[in-house]
């Protein structure tokens, strides 16, 4: 396999993008990434577009050719929509990486998009719920906040994790989001505000949950050996993995470990020849506060059960042992489901270029972790400044 680098990135804000269509926001992110790479759109040889459920949310399917034509890609360009629930963009990025790594093409465009605020919150949540097994889980009234609420109760039972430690994740990530112009929420919250926010799925409260958002993000990839022709700051993809978890929550050996994350981390670290302690900055899938704590353990940053105390001790803040979600994460930045994975890559690339609004000093190696559905799929990417 050839070494592959990121030479261009683009994104919309993750927000309520009133009056802009799915096609338009995806196009904006793609064009920005192509311009950032200083190549022509005609140079793109393959296109992967991550999206979860445009059919339900905006009544539009077959969106990869739609967006490709809007961007103006050549008619010879294969266009593929990738669906893996909240992990859709992570997989799209991975598949674009593989095409360049395999030598099938030199310039690949990976993007992710979701337009969620055109329908009622009830309709959007119903669409999200279809990512879980309908026959044996959704039928019982399981919800996504419910999934991580059950993880939380078990994590508290097994390891003594506290509801305050969960709340501190929200406080940290909202604090990080203040300076990020791409973040949906740019206000600080106090631990009291988190603790006193309304219950969504006991024990999780409003500020334990990420917001539904619109957004798109994109990246241009090419072989590392030619990357410097296009940018002074190529970012190499040194680790990449995409793994499978269980189809249902109750089958998990333990709900306090999300298996596909563990497996993807192992593969990605082995491929990179690195270990968790080498990572300077990480964007993790904090769809709920509990998720960030579990992710931080499953990725190997902390021992199982130590993720809660790590937050409390400030180890995950910018300037701490490992800066986790300096972008604000899904909790503050927002979670346009099918765009999130490449939104995370965008943030890590900015960090490794030394251009982030909430810069981790001297960041050289970063990690992006994207999780889909009820722990059914995960991707991990390790990026390195060259």
């Amino acid at each position: 396999m050839r070494s592959v680098s990121i030479i261009g990135i683009g994104t919309t804000p993750f927000s309520v993008l009133e009056g802009k269509s799915l096609k338009e926001i995806a196009t904006m992110a793609c064009v920005e990434a192509i311009n950032d790479a200083r190549i022509a759109k005609e140079d793109i040889q393959t296109f992967y577009l991550g999206n979860y459920c445009s059919g339900i949310l905006v009544g539009q399917e077959t969106i990869a050719p739609l967006v490709a034509n809007s961007v103006g890609l050549r008619k010879e360009t294969p266009c593929t929509k990738i669906e893996g629930a909240c992990c859709s963009a992570g997989i799209a990025f991975r598949d674009a990486f593989l095409m360049v790594a395999a030598g099938v093409c030199d310039f690949a465009l990976a993007a992710g998009v979701e337009k969620m605020t055109s329908v009622s919150t009830a309709k959007a949540t119903e669409g999200l719920a279809s990512a879980m097994d309908q026959e044996y889980e959704a039928r019982t009234g399981l919800t996504f906040p419910g999934f991580f609420a059950m993880v939380a109760r078990r994590h508290m039972y097994e390891f003594g994790t506290t509801i305050e430690q969960l709340g501190m994740v929200s406080v940290k990530n909202h604090n990080n989001g203040v300076v990020n112009p791409r973040a949906r929420f740019r206000n600080k919250v106090t631990l009291d505000e988190v603790m006193n926010s309304r219950l969504i799925a006991d024990p999780l409260k409003l500020y334990d949950c990420c917001p539904i958002s619109d957004g798109a993000a994109a990246a241009v990839l090419c072989p590392t050996e030619i990357a410097r022709q296009f940018t002074d700051k190529p970012i190499e993809i040194v680790g990449s993995a995409h793994t499978l978890g269980y189809a249902t929550m109750y089958e998990m050996d333990s709900v306090t470990t999300i298996l596909p994350t563990v497996l993807a981390a192992k593969q990605a670290f082995e491929m990179a020849g690195l270990k968790p302690g080498d990572i300077d900055v990480a964007e993790l899938h904090d769809c709920f506060t509990m998720a960030e704590i579990v992710d931080s353990e499953d990725l190997g940053f902390f021992e199982k059960g130590r993720g809660g105390p790590a937050v409390e001790e400030g180890l995950t803040q910018v300037g701490g042992k490992i800066a986790i979600n300096p972008s604000g994460g899904l909790l503050s930045k927002g979670h346009p489901v099918g765009a999130t994975g490449i939104g995370q890559v965008y943030e890590i690339v900015k960090q490794l270029r030394g251009e982030h609004e909430n810069q981790v000093r001297g960041a050289e190696i970063g990690l992006a972790h994207n999780l889909g559905a009820t722990g059914q799929v995960a991707t991990v990417h390790i990026l390195r400044r060259r």
């Binding site: 009830a122 949540t125 119903e126 999200l128 719920a129 097994d133 309908q134 026959e135 044996y136 889980e137 959704a138 039928r139 019982t140 009234g141 399981l142 919800t143 996504f144 906040p145 419910g146 609420a149 059950m150 993880v151 939380a152 109760r153 078990r154 039972y157 309304r198 219950l199 969504i200 799925a201 006991d202 024990p203 999780l204 189809a247 249902t248 929550m249 109750y250 089958e251 709900v255």
Partner: protein
């Protein structure tokens, strides 16, 4: 009128739902490696064998974890909030995503002994739920 999503019995799940209609909890067991599995499926996830039997289990178990839904995802559950989402671990080791009958959500705890009860929610469908053991 039952407004929540109803299961549609299929090739893999027909026996399970027919058992529920008779108020019997049936779980698949692999005839080759002996491991239990739920949800119902054609192949054993441990050894890939198709050689399967349906075993009527005691329906006794304990609460593995739980949470309370305050915001429903599906409109059919809107009248039920707050309701408990519960994973029960059966004596046989397999777990089910289920609901609790005859108990207030605030009385739940991890490790709580429970036993199966059957709720005839529609003419053709009976759902397995759980209640505190011995109550």
């Amino acid at each position: 009128m039952y407004k929540k999503p109803l299961p549609r019995p299929t090739l893999e799940s027909k026996e399970f739902w027919e058992g529920c209609k008779r108020h019997e909890l049936l779980i698949q067991r692999c005839r080759d490696c002996g491991s239990y599995r739920h949800y119902p499926r054609l192949l054993c996830p441990k050894c890939n064998s198709e050689n399967t039997e349906w075993v009527k289990v005691s329906g006794k178990g304990q609460v593995y974890t739980w949470a309370i839904a305050v915001q429903p995802f599906h409109p059919g559950f809107a009248e039920d909030v707050p309701y408990a989402m519960v994973i029960v671990e059966l004596e046989e080791g397999v777990r089910l995503m289920t609901n609790i009958a005859d108990s207030r959500p605030e009385d739940l705890y991890i490790g709580m002994p429970v036993e199966v009860v059957f709720d005839d929610v529609a003419e053709e469908v009976t759902l397995p739920k759980f209640k505190p053991a011995g109550k």
